[in-house]
């Protein structure tokens, strides 16, 4: 954090604390949205409160806080908003969306995606999400995805019996009819884990020196 007090920066700027000004505007916007959304609901009376009474009071209070914050941001020095890269938030949200639309059948207007289950959604979330940082390297991410996914499949699908789709139905049809869902799940998990192991071993062979370097930087 650079201190706005130590170095007197642009004194001309009438925004003394961009954090507070932005925060104040944000609060007032949220309050306005709440008031807009409840505009048609009855307020009721104190004796029998209507659905809109409390939300409206709260919205006015939030707006008042926002106004106070905005004013303080204009007349008092305070922290500025730290600059940030867009890469992290955008990529992480993309990864979450990728998971949400592939985990089970999803359709939005003309686009429709068949339910692919955890076996696709999990690795997608890991690999896309991994690109949120500049330190990304593809191979370790793939290994991570291929080893964590079978772990989660066994934990959530097999051990805990949670109703989470694990693989698409068309995939299950590839197996002989005598196989149970659980057997298919276990076989798939085993294949994925094996693939992770193979990639790990071959990768280690090729670039063992690189891994050591990364390990060191992780410690310091």
């Amino acid at each position: 954090m650079s201190h706005p007090h130590t170095a007197p920066p642009e004194r001309r700027s009438w925004i003394r604390s961009s954090q507070n000004v932005a925060g104040g505007i944000f609060l007032m916007a949220v309050a306005a949205l709440a008031l807009y959304l409840t505009r048609e609901l009855p307020q009721g009376s104190l004796r029998s409160m209507g659905p809109a009474m409390l939300p409206d009071w709260l919205a006015y209070a939030v707006a008042a806080c926002g106004l106070a914050l905005l004013v303080s941001g204009l007349i008092k020095d305070g922290d500025a908003i730290e600059p940030s890269a867009l890469r992290g938030p955008v990529v992480v949200v993309l990864a979450i969306l990728a998971f949400a639309v592939t985990i089970r059948p999803f359709s939005l207007g003309p686009v429709s995606i068949p339910g692919l289950g955890m076996v696709v959604a999990g690795p997608l979330a890991i690999i896309i999400g991994g690109y949120a940082t500049a330190d990304v390297r593809f191979r370790p991410l793939v290994i991570l995805a291929l080893s964590l996914t079978p772990f989660c499949m066994l934990l959530f699908g097999d051990l805990l019996n949670l109703p989470i789709p694990v693989f698409p139905q068309s995939f299950a049809n590839l197996f002989p009819a005598s196989w149970s869902q659980k057997a298919i799940l276990r076989a798939t998990a085993a294949v994925l884990a094996l693939a992770a192991l193979v990639i790990f071993i071959t990768g280690r062979h090729r670039s063992s020196s690189r891994i050591d370097v990364v390990d060191e930087s992780g410690i310091r």
Binding site: F26, R47, M49, C65, S72, G88, V93, A100, G130, L141
Partner: protein
Amino acid sequence: MGDLFANLGLGFSIALTFQNLGLAFLGCLVGTLVGVLPGVGPIATIAMLLPITFGLEPVGALIMLAGIYYGAQYGGSTTAILVNIPGEATSVVTTLDGHQMARQGRAGVALGIAAIGSFFAGTVSTVVIAALGAPLTKLALIFGPAEYFSLMVMGLVFAVVLARGSILKAIAMILLGVLLSTVGTDLETGQDRMTFGLSFLSDGIDFAVLAMGIFGIAEILRNLDHTETRDVVHQAIGRLLPNREDFRQSYLPILRGTTIGAILGILPGNGAVLGPFASYTVEKKLAKDPRRFGRGAIEGVAGPEAANNAGAQTSFIPLLTLGIPPNAVMALMVGAMTIHGIVPGPQVMTRNPDLFWGMIASMWVGNLMLLIINLPLVGVWVRLLKVPYHLMFPAILMFCCIGIYSINSLPTDVMFIGLFGIIGYVLLKFGFEPAPLLLGFVLGKLLEENLRRALILSRGSLETFVERPISAGLLAVAALLLVLALLPSIRKGRDEVFVE
């Protein structure tokens, strides 16, 4: 007194069954893991692991979740001492002297005294919970809606006073949290409020979704902004057991820390967070040579660690006796209880005595386990710290997605953790603390319900809140606190406590 022992006996007979011991162990292990890894907090983890407990007995489920919670408090101090990064918000203070001790080659002693202090504090607060449970439950039964409302207002005021940074921002966050809790169908009139016409919003915003977005995803985004600097101690950890001299220096701080932490923990409004800060300040004031603090004084580890653990445990009291969750973790416990058909509140103790006493007994068992599993496993935890963040966060991300999906089987829940993650990140950028928002959200529904009921009973007269003596007293305390916090001189003192 005889009752107390009979009840504790019942509790232990439940906590010591093979299955519950196993669940407590698992919870403690996972909790420690979470506490050790910076960037994964107990709130996000419990939300993630909530579905795992669906298939368990209610007692077992709560024992495991409680284990995760206090395991995380323990694990957080390991990271604080060895890496100078507080694994949890409550172990910030431990970094000051704990890490200095580690630099002087006394990491083992610091870890040892932290574990022993925590265990002692855990033991005492288990007894405190058991002793206070019954009388507080009786008190709760004479509470009407007006008293409940005032109590929650007091809790929220505490949260404002205890929050870090600007008081105005903390108030805004609380109000925003309560506002968010009013989204969804109005319970009395059945009308949809602020749902944008979306059907999945008419049940309101799911607490687990909000918590995971604001604490899980937003935390990832924040960590991605800062390139991490980890400062693992390379010296040998050294002997773990403190010697006689260490004990002589730290037994009084442990006693004082336990008392401070236990009292603050009971307060609704997340008083537990203040415990370690308060204890550190007290020890520094009482020390013969305050300059030693910040340079590896063992008292600066022993006191706050004891306070931390005592507070973590006594914060179960408002939940178990009054049904009011004092912090976000406890709110998730409410979620877990509701899933199993248990309504938290004074009736839990009479209707589900096994659950109540079993959980209390399991806390002590869990603390003993933590002492046993933590000290020998320090090496494993240190190795875990070496996992680079660029591999850790995609894994956290996937666990969040799977966890939140399996709670309700709704893809929209998954999308909403992304949305709340962005909102939480923006709030952090604007200098708002997310914790008060979550607390406001947690108490919001109860607050509205009790406000309305009280007003119906009083035929619309707001005076009911000051006419009833208990309610008036609670509101007076709240008002006094708020005024005190706003007074310039005290405000300065409060800032100093947090700066230290």
